[in-house]
Symmetry: C2
Subunit: 306 residues, 2 copies
């Protein structure tokens, strides 16, 4: 199985939505990403946790084929904690509290045995650290990155350097607009592409994603669900399914990219069905295939001909 | 050519967007609808204007194959006027002023020669008038309707009766949510379908539309444009392209419906490229086909296989 390396956060979350609340639950970009990617490839995580991080979470990751050898536990530290809430409009989280804890001093060290992994996802961390990770690897075959408004506002130059060094960029639409200063998404995407990456996946919450490449656009709707419980982690799950499928397919052709977006969307649709990793960790391959089948049908312009 | 009847508004609009402004320009649901539908079928309009309505607008409609015999001019009246503005988020208009004028007393009279037209679009007018129009026709083969928040709030029972009497409902997502009391769109669409219509097209502005049928969903993205100038009329243009294609195809099969949504989306993408009807009235069939081609590509999950 192809290997994927993800560098990002492992968190303990408190989440409240109109449909319930969950306290002290497993979260973090590297967690959602790796569990989703694990359905397609072999993910390894580089991240830090504190002494308070429950062993059961590590066991859960390992059970889902996530290699946790790069998960550093800081004995005197506490795990990164995020508290957030959503209203009925589940597209935007209201952050109530962020406790960086061990994430504040996190300086990822890539174990030498990971340096040759061909697929790398730089989840949303300080762009200077993302660059540092790149320097510690032997230029993986495919590098993707994510970011957030905070880095756009505080470390734009470093972020620009990251964007110029990766193959694939994940951003949500507000970030793409803020980073480029272009409200229009087509223009925003073109500006980002002009910096170097071959593709930009613009995430739009419940509206899905647009994949922009040189002269091409693929529209990937979100899978419509009757019950959306908690959108936390949907974006990282999307990236995990996306990169996992890419690694599995072993190609970077246009058709592969489109299927990767579709699998990313399908995986994200499971994450939002329950709090934390609950749905994602009790998922079966037949369920993924079945939903992919109905996702595919939703896109067919000529259903009788396919 | 198949005939389509539209009952709705003809307006003179003042529109301001971040990209410019246009005063006293042609607008109204029946206008956008019929000009768009005219590229596929033969539209007839039933609407009212005042003595101030410029003759050049009527000539423009006629030049675009719109039958204006049902366009009643009230000598002592003034044309319906709408003034609105958009910010960079072009999804929502801020209405600055509405002068109903002749629309306030409008009671559509369907000329007997229109009573057998097979395709009918009840644009956004008082649902009691929509019901009245239905009583004046010999139950067309396909009836579609649109509505707005005002009628949901003031005439919900009549609107429910309309929804139960039509084949196809056009609503934007906020309206679908407000009417059903369901924030979740899948649930909202199911509730509307349970009242009788075979399909609900939920419009989502720049995010496109979702077509819900019994057990099926088709996701139709908006065509991504580098320059969106003025979204006024996009929804009615969408309905016009949609119904025009349906009438042209002469079928109500699932595949036809999907292509109709796609043509509706393509037509709407032209409308927003300029103020008022400017882009829509200088459109050519090759331009429509070309954009449909690239729209189709944007939906292809397996571009190498199609």
């Amino acid at each position: 199985m192809s290997r994927i390396l993800v560098v990002g956060s492992v968190a303990l979350d408190n989440v409240e939505t109109p449909f319930g609340k969950a306290d002290n639950v497993l979260g973090g970009s590297a967690v959602y990403f790796s569990v989703a990617a694990g359905y397609f490839a072999s993910p390894s995580v580089v991240a830090a946790v504190g002494a308070d991080f429950p062993d059961e979470h590590i066991k859960l990751l390992q059970k889902h084929k996530v290699d946790t050898a790069g998960l550093v536990s800081i004995p005197e530290g506490k795990t990164f904690r995020w508290s957030g809430a959503y209203g009925f409009d589940l597209n935007t989280a209201e952050t109530r509290k962020t406790e960086l804890n061990v994430l504040g001093d996190f300086r990822p060290v890539i174990p030498s045995e990971y340096a040759e992994i061909e697929y790398l996802f730089l989840a949303n961390i300080d762009p200077d650290l993302q660059l540092d990770v790149l320097r510690q690897t032997k230029r993986p075959r495919i590098v993707a990155c994510d970011t957030m408004n905070y880095w756009i506002e505080t470390k734009k130059d470093s972020l620009t350097e990251v964007l110029g060094a990766v193959d694939l960029v994940f951003m949500n639409e507000a970030e793409a607009r803020e980073y480029t200063g272009e409200y229009n998404l087509v223009r925003a995407a073109r500006k980002i592409l002009s910096l170097g990456p071959r593709y930009v996946a613009v995430k739009r919450g419940e509206y899905g994603a647009l994949l922009f490449g040189e002269g091409s656009i693929f529209s990937a709707p979100a899978y419509p669900l009757e019950d959306v419980f908690d959108p936390t982690g949907a974006g990282d799950t999307f990236a995990g399914g996306f990169m996992g499928y890419l690694a599995h397919a072993g190609s970077f052709e246009a058709g592969t990219l489109r299927k990767a977006v579709a699998f990313g969307s399908v995986m994200a649709s499971f994450t939002v069905e329950d709090f934390s990793l609950r749905r994602l960790t009790r998922l079966t391959h037949p369920e993924i295939q079945e939903r992919m089948q109905s996702y595919r049908k939703m896109l067919e312009l000529e259903p009788n001909h396919v």
